[in-house]
């Protein structure tokens, strides 16, 4: 018996000859990939590196010795001793014949086609000099009924236009949609000459990954309204950047035009370690908010009761003076700051230094979400959220456990990754949550625990593991620390049967490589400390991280960056030490975190706030209370891209530059530092946050850094500290707190992002608004039946804290007494329903008649 579980079985290699070149590849590689790997180009249409081969287009023909006919290289496995030719006469003739076939019905309308200049078909046809056709019958032509268009374009989604005449039926769009994204809104219909791609009858192609279909279409059959007919591709320049709407940091490429100082589109910049070349629609169309007419153009200052535009000098001098005044009269403990975790490292570190060194306060935070922070500082949860996690490790995991996460909304890249693992391997995947989620479609089984019983469920897993394997170390010690301490009552409380818990525990014990993802239902829970403690116990008991990875994943583009730079009152001790060394000191006070600052404000003990790129009035729980809290402030300065509910209350509003307008670095959930280059010059008078802070500090005669170089060196030093917190040395107490429930509010409310939106800013991206323009109440078919409502009917949702009205969307995934409400819209504010103190948001709903 092998003692080690980590050694990989040796991969067999095969050696073949391609165009007289000897090539050695692992067994199972296709001839195409062997050739591409050796730098030999073979044309393809239907092959895609991340999809299964289908051999539909035949353009990748090669000649293989001892095989009577040409072979499609994308679907032929390379074997030992194979002799392959990719450019022989017969191959060229074959390719030419295939092209002639493909072009039989093609309209050859390149001059008016938006794909012109970047079309695989155009390039290949050009290369093979096909300027005539032997077919003399009429081409098959798809005419859109009732649409008098010369181009016969059909709108099949909010963003996607389809020209069926140009389609070469490579099926890449349909395949990626089903295989890679698990979406079923596009299909291939009819057969033979009549075959066509189209949206599912009566539906729209509107899934959260739909933009990828356009990107991978090798011809001009699929185009998107975002880009089409606005500019020719050869007139643009490109800038590498990253997706800042997502904590994975997908790699993207902007197409921009320098003279116009405008971005025209986003495509993926494939990074196999992160995104596999798939990006979400939010990443693709989100850039549009940069060019929104609503951008703040100039600094605003409150004069009398109105905010009026002023020059930067005036605004900056005023901010510096007011902060100094408050510092003098009340002390720096009365000043606090919030910075968005989507800001770049330079800005975040400048913020930290500005607050701590220039002002001298330790009231600062970056965590503002749709649930409030627990009052006590985290311990177990800090451990859990600081654990290393590598996205690509999902590919080779044999057990994937998704706990408390609506993965498609929270971590779309990781969802696609799990799909891929399922398509190409045989991992066991479990989705465990308190409500049904779309991402469970990649799971072998979905388990639903009772609302607010996360820690009971995890306790149950521990107890089940002990029953399965009584030899597990410290089992008795653990039992004393948790309640309930017997499997059956834990099972009863959490609603997952003891048998199921045991089966799950078995897979965790036996898994060779585990990826355990912890999501928002834990990270944003009031009781996240208790749940995290339970998870620490589980890890201690069965040793998940000794055979894989387990972490509460970061949610924003630079959350990890903010964490590593110490943007919380109690940073990791190493970070604190590094900062103290660099600055020759650190504020003495303990400092308040987000929730603490708000309580202080309410008590009138915090008088001034500096806010960078955040909108707590609209995003933080309990809308009215937050607004009231902010009214108490003496002085509020906010930098943002747009006017928001928070800027409306500010004394000074400063126009912030977006991530496209300066070069910035961001740390993704894996701790990977990535750079977004500057694509365009800052629009209007906007400035990056680090520049704004430097200006204010200079006006206060306390310069932040002597040079950009110094700033960078400081960041380097702080980032060099490891912020992974060690697992606790013993089992932790896990005593589940009581769950408050009032029978008058029987339905559980889930708040989150609509799949086409992120936070409060994407409302300014026109394309994303086409997918979803305002809040809705997504409810289970059971509830729809109970309240006799259909799609579009208005319902009133009421919690103890507030109420709102929104149209109904009958869910395809939710079951039971659960409703989902997106938090992204300024008209319908989800945070008005949420309490600051409760663990679960309970609501009741009523149909609004009429």
């Amino acid at each position: 018996m092998s003692t080690s579980t980590t050694t990989q079985p040796a991969v067999k290699m095969v050696t073949l000859t391609i165009n007289d070149q000897s090539v050695t590849v692992p067994k199972g590689t296709t001839v195409l990939q062997a050739a591409l790997g050796a730098g030999i180009h073979i044309p393809t249409f239907c092959w895609h590196p991340k999809l299964k081969s289908v051999g539909a287009c035949r353009i990748c023909y090669v000649e293989i010795e001892k095989m009577p006919k040409l072979q499609v290289s994308c679907a032929t496995e390379a074997t030992d001793g194979m002799v392959v030719k990719t450019e022989s006469d017969i191959v060229k003739r074959g390719r030419k014949a295939v092209l002639e076939f493909i072009l039989a019905n093609h309209p050859l309308d390149c001059p008016t086609c938006d794909k012109g200049g970047e079309c695989d078909l155009q390039n290949l046809t050009f290369a093979h000099g096909l300027d005539d056709s032997r077919f003399d019958f009429l081409k098959r032509r798809h005419i859109v009924p009732g649409v008098p268009s010369t181009f016969d374009d059909l709108r099949i989604g909010p963003e996607i236009m389809l020209n069926r005449n140009r389609c070469i039926l490579c099926y890449k769009c349909v395949r990626s949609n089903k295989e890679a994204f698990g979406e079923y809104d596009i299909g291939a219909f009819e057969r033979g000459n009549a075959m066509e791609i189209n949206a599912a009858p009566g539906e729209q192609v509107a899934n959260p990954f739909s933009g990828n279909l356009v990107e991978i279409c090798p011809v001009g059959a699929l185009t998107n309204s975002d880009w089409r007919y606005k500019i020719r591709v050869w007139l643009t320049q490109t800038t590498p950047s990253i997706d800042i709407f997502n904590s994975s940091g997908s790699n993207i490429l902007f197409y921009k035009e320098d003279h116009k100082n405008r971005i025209f589109r986003t495509i993926s910049r494939r990074n196999d370690e992160i995104d596999d070349g798939w990006i979400t629609d939010v990443a693709r169309y989100g850039y549009q908010l940069v060019h929104s007419p609503d951008r703040l153009q100039k600094p605003l200052m409150k004069k009398g009761s109105k905010q009026v535009p002023v020059e930067w000098e005036e605004a900056v001098a005023f901010v510096a003076r007011r902060l100094a005044e408050i510092d003098d009269t009340k002390g720096c403990v009365c000043i606090g700051g919030l910075a968005s975790p989507t800001l770049d490292l330079d800005s975040l570190h400048s913020f930290s230094k500005f607050m701590r060194k220039v002002i001298g306060t330790n009231n600062l935070d970056f965590r503002i979400d749709y649930r409030s922070l627990p009052e006590k500082p985290d311990s177990a949860f800090s451990t859990l959220s600081s654990q290393p996690f590598t996205i690509a490790e999902i590919d080779t995991s044999d057990v994937i456990f998704v706990f408390g996460s609506d993965l498609v909304k929270e971590h779309p890249n990781e969802y696609l990754r799990i799909r891929k693992a399922r398509n190409f391997g045989r991992p066991l995947v479990y989705s465990v949550n308190s409500f049904n989620v779309k991402s469970a479609d990649v799971a072998d089984r979905e388990f639903i625990y009772a609302p607010g019983t996360e820690e009971v469920f995890i306790n149950g897993l521990c107890l089940a593991a002990i029953e399965e394997n009584p030899g597990l170390s410290g089992a008795d010690g653990l039992k004393r620390k948790i309640s309930p301490a017997d499997l059956n009552s834990a099972a009863k409380t959490c609603g997952v049967s003891a048998e199921d818990l045991k089966a799950l525990a078995r897979t965790l014990i036996n898994g060779k490589k585990i990826s355990f993802i912890v999501g928002d239902q834990v990270s944003l829970s009031r009781d996240r400390e208790v749940i995290a403690a339970a998870l620490c116990n589980l890890n201690r008991l069965v040793g998940i991280t000794s055979r894989g990875q387990m972490a509460a994943l970061a949610r924003y583009a630079d959350s990890i960056g903010a964490e590593k730079l110490g943007l919380i009152p109690n940073p990791h001790p190493d970070v604190k030490r590094a900062l103290t060394d660099l600055w020759g000191g650190f504020p003495e006070m303990a400092g308040y975190h987000t929730e603490g600052m708000f309580s202080q404000m309410l008590k009138g003990e915090l008088d001034a706030m500096v806010i960078l790129g955040a909108n707590p009035v609209a995003m933080y729980p309990d809308h009215e209370a937050v607004a009231e809290t902010f009214e108490k402030l003496d002085f509020l300065v906010v930098a943002d891209l747009f006017e928001t509910e928070t800027t409306a209350m500010a004394d000074v509003v400063l126009p912030l530059a977006s991530w496209t307008e300066f070069a910035g670095r961001y740390v993704n959930l894996e701790g990977r530092i990535q750079k977004a280059e500057r694509a365009i010059k800052p629009l209007y008078e906007s400035k990056p946050a680090y520049a704004i802070l430097a200006d204010i500090a200079a006006a206060a005669r306390k310069p932040l850094f002597s040079s950009a170089r110094e700033r960078e060196e400081e960041i380097e030093k702080v980032l060099a500290c490891t912020t992974v917190r060690p697992w606790p040395g013993d089992y932790l107490d896990v005593r589940p707190p009581a769950i408050d429930k009032d029978p008058a509010y029987p339905i559980m409310l889930i708040i989150g992002d609509d799949p086409h939106h992120r936070c409060y800013v994407t409302e300014k991206a026109a394309s994303l608004v086409k997918f979803c323009s305002d809040a809705y109440i997504e409810l289970s078919p059971e509830l729809a039946e109970k309240f006799k409502v259909e799609d579009g009917d208005a319902v009133r949702v009421e919690s103890k804290y507030g109420k709102l009205m929104a149209p109904v969307k009958v869910s395809r995934v939710l079951e039971g007494d659960v409703v989902f409400l997106p938090r992204n819209f300024s008209v319908t504010r989800a945070n008005s329903l949420v309490s600051r103190k409760a663990r679960i948001d309970w609501v009741r709903i009523n149909k609004v008649s009429g």
Binding site: K178, Y184, D185, I186, G187, A188, F189, E190, R191, A200, P201, G202, E203
Partner: protein
């Protein structure tokens, strides 16, 4: 609901017999066709729900098979083979004769809603060409006299 309980139960039973649910789509389409006489988007939706497969995959399979009519037809759907063997043995004139006898053009339905006439590709019965299929039955080695008799019998049955 267009599909009745029996159809749904049968579809579910058939689908459960395959290792992959998706394989249940074709039997389900046949069952629906037998019950309704044609297929449409609404039926695809009901099938998708009944056997728990994506709606678009039901629609894809249904449209791939031209043998399933997508519009209501007459009680008898006459499908004359027009492929090579049948064509050589007079399929064209057979269609003409049927058009004349029924008083409709190919693709149309008689006023009394009894007959719909279409021509189709090879039905795999070349050895007995010319031939046609009416609903689920084959009629082979056709002559005009035989056609007269067949139509008469069907009318009588209707």
């Amino acid at each position: 609901m267009i599909l009745n309980k029996e159809s749904v139960a049968l579809m579910q039973k058939k689908a459960s017999q395959y290792p992959r649910r998706k394989s249940g789509i074709l039997p389900a389409l046949t069952i629906a066709y037998r019950q309704v006489g044609h297929l449409n988007d609404q039926i695809y939706r009901e099938i998708a729900k009944a056997i728990n497969v994506p709606y678009v995959e039901v629609a894809e399979a249904a449209t791939f098979y031209t043998m399933f009519p997508k519009q209501p037809t007459g009680k008898y759907l006459i499908q004359v083979c027009h492929n090579i063997s049948c064509a050589l043995l007079g399929a064209d004139s057979l269609v003409e004769y049927l058009e004349q006898k029924l008083g409709i053009k190919k693709g149309e339905t008689t006023k009394d809603n009894l007959f719909t006439l279409i021509s189709v590709e090879c039905l795999g019965s070349c050895a007995t060409a010319p031939m046609m299929q009416i609903n689920m039955d084959y009629y082979e080695n056709l002559t005009r006299a035989k056609v007269d008799k067949i139509l008469e019998e069907l009318r009588a049955k209707a």
